[in-house]
């Protein structure tokens, strides 16, 4: 059964249109990856789903109901959690305050204690750093706080925007460890990734983005076994 269904989505900034009729469906419990060259609208897609950007046309359904007219806070309450590109932490708050804000809504707040333990066991570094102010963290630590904050919310769909962007190889490995854990946990996940090959090994389904549309989608294994697809859409 599909959890998220997007049809003919159009969105953009000011006069500039970025998404031109995007269609995307994500099945409940599946791990979907959205890949494509820089600037083709991957982040814009996530922003439209989470309501930070208003859709100009098309529809977004979540668990059967239209969400494209809801406010971002209502969409979060529906269970869509968006870990944005570039972390967007609250710079003057501590690590623990950032994490707590992830469980801001009453439903998540009720489970905050157990979730915090889960996050700390998944990202042990955060336990040591919990009282440090976010603006003084290293890039890798920031990313972990960003992901941890998203995990605090629970939710039914977790969207991660470029979780490995701009990190050192060893930190990328740690982040991938977390992503792998999430992949096998059975949650529904949509991840945007630069490194298509690496994410394809984890993903159930690959969605290749080209100029504001989905140009190809298929199984992760199919993507890996057909280099011509890579050549056609991702430039080799």
């Amino acid at each position: 059964m599909s959890l998220l269904e997007i049809e003919g989505l159009e969105a953009g900034y000011g006069a500039q249109a970025v998404l031109h009729g995007l269609n995307l469906t994500i099945g409940e419990g599946s791990f979907a990856a959205l890949v494509g060259p820089n600037g083709h609208g991957k982040s814009t897609t996530l922003r439209a789903i989470s309501g930070l950007l208003r859709a100009r046309a098309g529809s977004i359904r979540f668990a059967g109901a239209r969400i494209d007219r809801l406010r971002p806070d209502q969409i979060v309450a529906e269970g869509i959690i968006h870990v944005p590109q570039g972390d967007m932490l609250f710079p003057e708050l501590t690590v623990i305050e950032n994490l707590r804000l992830g469980a801001y809504l009453p439903k998540a707040a009720a489970e905050a204690r157990t979730r915090l333990d889960e996050v700390f066991s998944l990202l042990p570094k955060l336990r040591e750093r919990q009282d440090q102010v976010a603006s003084t963290l290293s890039g890798g630590e920031r990313r972990m706080v960003g992901i941890g904050r998203g995990l605090m919310a629970g939710g039914r769909l977790l969207m991660l925007d470029e979780p490995s962007l701009g990190l050192a190889p060893i930190v990328i490995d740690q982040i991938y460890e977390v992503v792998r854990h999430l992949a096998v946990s059975g949650r529904t996940i949509l991840v945007v990734e630069e490194n298509a090959m690496r994410i394809a090994e984890l993903a159930d389904r690959m969605h290749l983005m080209d100029n504001g549309r989905i140009a190809w989608d298929g199984l992760g294994s199919e993507f890996l076994s057909r280099p011509e697809i890579r050549a056609a859409y991702l430039g080799g």
Binding site: L52, D73, P84, L93, E97, A153
Partner: protein, 292 residues
């Protein structure tokens, strides 16, 4: 020594009074990037509502103060709903809201003038007498103002630091988009912040008028001072604004003592302009990255 105590006492009273209205302004700027130029009129409104409640309706002082704060909060809410909200998404928001609130401030001030007339009035909320401290008589009025102001500041600090609503306000101020992704309804945060700021302005107006009397234009100077304090602290820096308010209050008292009342404000502003040339983003402000 006696003069020292006198200057300190009047400086702290001034500073505490400024701090109450300044943190309101700083809060609004930090959450919405909005400079509320109608703050001065809100101050006057607060002062006159208290006057009306006590003098005409015969209500006791605490009720009158509460009434003034409720009216101030209501006006703050109205300003959010009618003025700020319609232009929230605009790329020129900062300029637009500035100009619009100049207009609203003029409307509110004229309403006060229409209702109460141009003659100065005395604020009935006045405690006579004083207490002798080290040979100097410090008026009860000053001590009362200081106490209420400090209690207010503590209350706001508690609200921001210890409550869920306060956390939402701080989160919104630090990153609007991220706050929304946490499920915070930022429209509600904006409304709360403007209400709080309006209520604080009303209270500050009562304090100011209890010392220097009521006039429809009474809010103009305190507002400019509050803005100057915000600028010195770095716009949107709420704790910095409270500290800067106390410092500038003391400084003003010292300047008044040394050079006379009529030059205090001019010298103060001159000093502030000097500070800003030396540190363009305020004493406690961080250099802001210009978004490209």
């Amino acid at each position: 020594m006696e003069i020292f105590i006198q200057v300190i006492a009047s400086g702290l009273t001034l500073g505490a009074m400024y701090a109450v209205s300044t943190i309101g302004l700083a809060l609004v700027y930090s959450a919405l990037n909005m400079l509320n130029m109608s703050q001065g009129a809100l101050l006057a409104f607060g002062g006159y509502v208290c006057f009306y409640a006590m003098e005409t309706l015969g209500l006791p002082a605490p009720v009158a103060m509460l009434a003034a704060m409720v009216v101030g909060g209501g006006l703050g809410l109205a300003i959010y709903l009618l003025v700020a909200r319609p232009m929230l998404g605009s790329p020129m928001f900062e300029t637009q809201i500035f100009i619009a609130t100049i207009g609203i401030g003029s409307v509110l001030q004229s309403v006060v003038l229409q209702l109460f007339g141009p003659q100065p009035k005395a604020q009935p909320l006045n405690v006579p007498g004083g207490v002798s401290l080290g040979g100097v008589v410090v008026p009860w009025q000053s001590l009362l103002i200081l106490t209420i102001a400090l209690a207010m500041l503590a209350g706001v600090a508690w609200l921001l630091g210890r409550t869920r609503a306060g956390l939402a306000i701080r989160a919104t101020a630090q990153n609007r988009d991220a706050a929304q992704l946490m499920g915070i309804r930022i429209g509600q945060v904006y409304a709360q912040v403007l209400m709080l700021s309006g209520a604080l302005a009303a209270l500050s107006g009562i304090m100011v008028s209890s010392l220097s009397g009521l006039l429809p234009t009474m809010g103009a100077d305190p507002m400019l001072k509050a803005f100057v304090i915000c600028v010195v602290a770095g716009l949107g820096n709420v704790p910095g604004a409270a500290i800067a308010a106390l410092l500038l209050g003391l400084l003003e008292a010292i300047i008044q003592y040394l050079f006379g009342v009529q030059y205090a404000f001019a010298i103060l502003l001159g000093l502030v302009i000097g500070v800003l040339i030396w540190r363009p983003y305020g004493l406690f402000g961080k250099r802001q990255v210009v978004r490209l």
